[in-house]
């Protein structure tokens, strides 16, 4: 009974192992960079991390539902371009609010297109979102042929300053976890996990599998919009047509580092948030450990592969011992 419960705790809270990993890499980070937990440093790190955290949250919802979204990065590029063509340093609060709503709507619309193609035309998620990613990057280039854009200074100052001595990003993460813990109690969450784990079984039970699939991409589109908003806040509105393109792979790696299985039906957003932090901390460690500049990419890649292979290696070792 006892061991069964423990097994269930780990099966349900797949981010536990990732959390342990995060603590370890943070410890290493502290050794090479003593000021990492100072408010200023923490705030800086988290602030630049928030866009990727949001993106990885959206990605994990898609992955839990049994899909994959390769278009999130270029979607951030497109939505950022959209935002800075609407918002200027002289925009009124009303105009800014309208732009924010429109960017969110555009993100959800883009997700809806992905979702409809995947769920109703039954194209492979990977192919579909890879293809639409070029549409988004094409639109981004049309909107913003040259790097540029800026937003009211007050906004970026607000985003930069801690609130009550706590980095703003902490509030955002708390909100995300609250959002997820509420969502997790709804019937929708049951549908989401059932669809991702076994679509056929879910269908035979009466779960509207296709509708659920579509919604996962709409979520992902919405979170891409939120990611582009925070990204523009942290750059002060300076954008370029490919600003988010590199974030796609990072979002997927973060999801996997967070213990969510790519085949779907398991995992959660807490894992994705931890995954993003692990990615960032590893980069930090490499930087402060004085790894030669030209080797940093390689070392980074090796560490990530080792982290990803960890669970599989543990399983192999356990099996060879004979359980």
């Amino acid at each position: 009974m006892k061991s069964l419960n423990l097994q269930r705790v780990f099966a349900r809270n797949t981010y536990l192992i990732s959390f342990i990993l995060l603590v370890i890499v943070l410890g290493i980070n502290y050794i090479v960079q003593n000021n990492v937990f100072e408010l200023r440093v923490l705030n800086n790190n988290l602030r630049t991390l928030l866009p990727l955290i949001l993106l990885a949250v959206g990605q994990s919802i898609v992955v839990i539902g049994g899909g994959l979204d390769l278009s999130v990065g270029t979607l951030v590029s497109m939505l950022s371009a959209l935002l800075v063509t609407w918002v200027t340093p002289d925009s009124t609060p009303d105009q800014i609010l309208l732009a924010v709503v429109l960017v969110c709507a555009a993100g959800m619309l883009a997700g809806l297109v992905n979702g409809l193609v995947v769920a109703y035309l039954r194209l492979q998620p990977m192919i579909t979102t890879y293809a639409t990613s070029f549409i988004f990057s094409g639109i981004a280039l049309l909107l913003l042929p040259r790097p540029g854009g800026s937003i009211p200074r007050d906004l970026s100052t607000f985003y930069r300053s801690p609130l009550l001595d706590i980095p703003l990003a902490f509030y955002a993460i708390a909100l995300l976890l609250l959002f997820w813990s509420v969502l997790r109690t709804t019937r929708y969450a049951q549908y989401l996990y059932a669809t991702g784990s076994s679509g056929a079984a879910a269908y035979a039970t009466g779960v509207p599998v296709r509708v659920v699939r579509v919604t996962t991409y709409v979520w992902s589109g919405l979170f891409a919009a939120l990611a582009s908003l925070t990204l523009m806040l942290s750059t002060g509105g300076a954008s370029q047509a490919n600003i988010g393109d590199d974030m796609t792979l990072d979002s997927i790696v973060a999801v996997v580092l967070g213990g969510t299985r790519l085949s779907g039906g398991q995992g959660g957003i807490a894992g994705a948030i931890i995954g993003v932090m692990i990615l960032r901390v590893i980069r930090n460690v490499i930087f402060f450990a004085a790894v030669p500049t030209w080797s940093q990419t390689l070392v980074n890649a090796l560490i990530i592969i080792a982290a990803l292979a960890g669970p599989g290696l543990i399983r192999l070792i356990r099996r060879s011992i004979g359980r």
Binding site: M1, L4, Q7, R8, A11, V182, T185, T186, R187, A189, Q190, Y191, Y193, A194, S197, S198, A200, A201, A202, Y203, A204, T205, G206, V207, P208, G265, Q266
Partner: protein, 503 residues
Amino acid sequence: MTLQLSVRSIVKRYGGVVALRDGNLDIQSGEVISLIGANGSGKSTLSKIITGVVAPNGGQLLLNGHPVHFSNPQAARGRGITAVYQELSLVPDMTVAENIWLAHEPLHLNFRVNRKAMRKNTEDLIALFGGTISERLQPDTLVTALPPDERQIVEILKALSIDPQLLILDEATASLDSSQVNRLFSLIKQWQAAGKAIIFITHRMDEIFRIADKATVLRNGQSVGTVDIASTSEREIVNMMIESAATPDDIKIPVVSEDAPVRLAVQNLGGGRVEDVSFTLRDGELLGLGGLHGQGQEDLLLALFGAIPYTGSVKVSGKEVHYRHPRDAMNDDIAFVPGDRGREGLLLVRSIIENFQLPSWHKYGALHNRDAAQRDARAMADDLQLVYAGMETPVNSLSGGNAQKVVLGKWLLRQPKLLLLDDPTKGVDVGTKGEFYALLKRLTEAGTAILFYSSDDDELLGLCNRVLVLQDGRVRDTLTGERLTHSELVAASMGATNNHEVA
């Protein structure tokens, strides 16, 4: 509330294959009807149509006299109709409670899932099987942690959770032990008394007589009649299940002589679905494996090929062996033609020649001797009368019969002494089947020992002189000589008890 369902002239085609040509069934509240038929007679298709999982191509469902059309499983569940499916419909990564209440979770304020109520209701349901299940089966256990019998019980409880008016049990007893079956049967009696209608699909004859009021028999996708269980016999049901006009093939392979060397001797073999199977197979003999689908035939062949772990003793040519990998078996001149040729038998996008050579690359040297390989492959293709454009054509451009010849050919190139065949003529056209039978005859004449599972009863009866009939992983009967008849084969595969009485 009473319910009366009539199924009228239902037709269902999958591509070109007709699964049901004329399905009929009548049932009303308080009745237990057994739906029976041989392999591929359309039982599962019919039950899926009633529950809205698949849509029929023709015919009508009448619910309380009114035509209904269920476009999806939800629609049927809305009318109180559901099924316990044969291939399980559980989500492995979710808990027992989550699975049972999936899509009709008890809610707080129409929004949040009421986990407390869900757990309580699940405990009540589990209590129905109390005493026949292990401590493991709790509301919060993940389904993936449960053994097959308890998963099956969860599946039954899941169907029950919607309080159905009509419940279909599609081979729900197949993985249950006897105490669980007894409990299920007493529950069925209670449900029946409470006015539920139950359609009971099984492959066990004794269960039909224990639980059903009536039996509706399907044959080749057609309902051939309904009988009252009280006034019928096992023999009458068996006769309804088989086609009276069926004639065995005239290619009879001669009985192998008693002093031919024993190629394979199996003692108390168990593994996978197989339990305690013993038999011997001599050189030049074609030994048939019969019975309904999934009674352990495939696992028996896999075990002998070293592809799944097994217990018991296996002797090949008098030598005790214990294979751990198919390569071990291949080294002893054993070949296995798998049942799912698309998945296990062929590299579909690769060429004919590559497929032919796959098990025998080493024969052509470290530096591949392409000419020799081509020569052998062509000879084999001619021998098998393979119809092909060129050796480089990808296998997925071939018809089913020709593709199967490639699977066979790639193993025959190794000149096996013992050939294991898993339903080799499935989805193969009639002409190719004929060539195939002639090939089996040639092989046995050349001294090859063949263990031959087929889901086509005519084939087994027509070709083999000895057929092992498996049920629930055990050899239920061995048919030889006079007893190689349809009725004996069907009776044995249903586990009928009066085998030796003549109707």
